[in-house]
């Protein structure tokens, strides 16, 4: 299968200007590739830089060195060098991200929070809502909650809304940051199924997962991030 994501010699250091310019090296020499229909899990101790790598791939963190090539939608974009507009286009067409926490607009109903990525991409609203409803049902969010904004939901419910939102689009590359952290066994199994479905449709997945069972169920390969951790 074709390579969808390829990181080469990626490095990241934070410079904390408010703390006297102290430099916090996070990772260095990060190199790995992910193919279509493959799920790679980033493993490593807490603070090793797993989330930072995901954020660099998504473009939320800037990358100090190396390249992050995404081959999708008939073109190759180096996220490390791309202009903001290229990154926004890439996110709309090729790059999905499920963060650890839901960041939702205050008043928007859950069903629309989930449907929004499809609508933004130009999809028809009713169709987007139908697909959102399917996902919310599968993730065991009771239908009576769908018209409500998710701000008051429990942590686990919010995370499932976040997962539904992240999985609604069929994009070539999906980044998952601890998607199952606060879920019960039943919902973890749903997420495992959802990942398997994405892989069957050709999506390349990069995930951070601490749960051993989930990892065993979804991972085609494991990258040990400890070996990229930069020495301070």
């Amino acid at each position: 299968m074709s390579i969808v994501l390829e990181l080469t010699a990626v490095a990241k250091t934070f410079t904390m200007h408010l703390q006297g310019g102290i430099r916090l090296p996070v990772v260095t020499g990060v190199a790995f590739a992910v193919r279509a229909s493959e799920c790679v899990v980033l493993a490593g101790r807490s603070g090793a830089g797993k989330s930072s790598i995901l954020k660099m791939i998504f473009g939320t963190y800037r990358c100090d060195a190396g390249s992050i090539l995404v081959n999708a939608d008939g073109r190759t974009v180096d996220v490390a060098q791309a202009e903001p507009r290229q990154i926004l286009t890439l996110r709309a067409r090729a790059l999905g991200y499920v963060s650890q926490f839901l960041r939702a607009v205050p008043r928007v109903p859950t069903i629309d929070v989930v449907a929004e990525p499809l609508v933004i991409a130009g999809g028809e609203r009713d169709d987007a809502r139908r697909r959102a409803a399917d996902l919310l049902r599968r993730l065991n969010i009771p239908e009576r909650l769908w018209p409500l904004p998710p701000a008051t939901f429990s942590g686990g419910e919010q995370q499932r809304v976040n997962i539904a939102r992240g999985f609604i689009s069929d994009l070539p590359l999906l980044l998952l940051d601890e998607p199952t952290a606060s879920l019960d066994a039943g919902n973890r199994a749903v997420v495992v199924d959802l990942v398997a479905e994405k892989k069957r449709r050709g999506t390349a997945v990069v995930a951070i997962v601490h749960d051993d069972d989930v990892r065993a169920a979804i991972a085609d390969g494991v990258i040990d991030v400890n070996r990229f951790t930069a020495a301070a």
Binding site: Y61, R62, P84, R85, L88, T89, P106, G122
Partner: protein, 262 residues
């Protein structure tokens, strides 16, 4: 914006500088705004945000530098070179300007319907029934009860006035809207509603916008890119989540770390 990646900028600022006597307004500001793109300008009071907005919208003339704008015929024009008629066309049709204080952007003594309808009449609409119907549609879109269409905005709450000002600006389907602290001075709950409304309208109408705000949450919710200003200059510019989550400049780090989490 997502569908047109090789398109040309809608507006381009080149080396904009402005002094008020010896007082610096802004210095050497350059950036490009693309169709459908929302840029937030953040920074503390006195950082030059509002000066920049006034320069971009041809309300102030720069000491040096220029602002180029793509007219509807596709030609990039220097705002300083426009005729009075062309400038009026921009203000009446192609641009919107949302003031922090709605009283500056509305006529407080005439009805809400007339406030919205006036912009349509300025571009040649004459049919009273159609004007009123369109004004009514826009009041509904900004969630103002149709029963209030004949009331003057001085009878409205602050949040309603701000929503009315937005309706008045958007009714002519502008391509570019300037907003100066659009949520400033409103209660938090009212702010949330306004932000949500603005967010929907900006996306639905594919508006380009320059939004001046000191509120980083507003920038995060509404903008694609952020410009951070300090002492009249751009200190950092980039993708909104990049600038807010991985700020590089000392001043941006200070700004981001000064926000109290809710």
């Amino acid at each position: 914006m997502m569908e047109r990646e090789d398109d040309q900028p809608l507006l381009r600022a080149e080396g904009l500088s402005k002094w008020y006597g010896k007082q610096l307004g802004c210095r050497d500001v350059s950036f490009a705004l693309y169709p459908g793109e929302v840029i937030a300008v953040v920074g503390e009071s006195g950082s030059g945000k509002t000066t920049l907005l006034q320069l971009l919208s041809a309300q102030l003339a720069p000491f040096c530098g220029r602002v180029l704008y793509r007219m509807r015929d596709g030609v990039m024009r220097d705002l300083a070179s426009l005729s009075e008629a062309e400038r009026r066309f921009l203000f009446r049709t192609d641009w919107g300007y949302v003031h922090q204080d709605p009283a500056l952007g509305l006529r407080m003594g005439v009805s809400a319907g007339a406030n919205v309808g006036e912009r349509l009449m300025a571009i040649g609409w004459r049919h009273y029934g159609r004007i009123r119907e369109t004004a009514g549609d826009w009041l509904a879109r900004v969630e103002i009860d149709g029963g209030r269409i004949d009331d003057a905005p001085y009878t409205y709450s602050g949040g309603m006035r701000q929503r009315l000002q937005i309706a008045r600006n958007l009714v002519t389907r502008p391509r570019l809207v300037f907003m100066d602290e659009p949520t400033g001075g409103l209660d938090v709950s009212v702010q949330a509603r306004l932000l949500d409304l603005l967010r929907g309208l900006v996306a639905e109408l594919a508006l380009a916008a320059v939004i001046v705000t000191h509120d980083l949450a507003v920038a995060r919710l509404l903008s694609h890119r952020v410009i951070v200003m300090k002492d009249g200059e751009i200190v950092e510019i980039g993708l909104t989540d990049q600038v807010l989550d991985d700020p590089h400049q000392p001043y941006t780090q200070l700004l981001v770390s000064s926000v109290l989490p809710p």
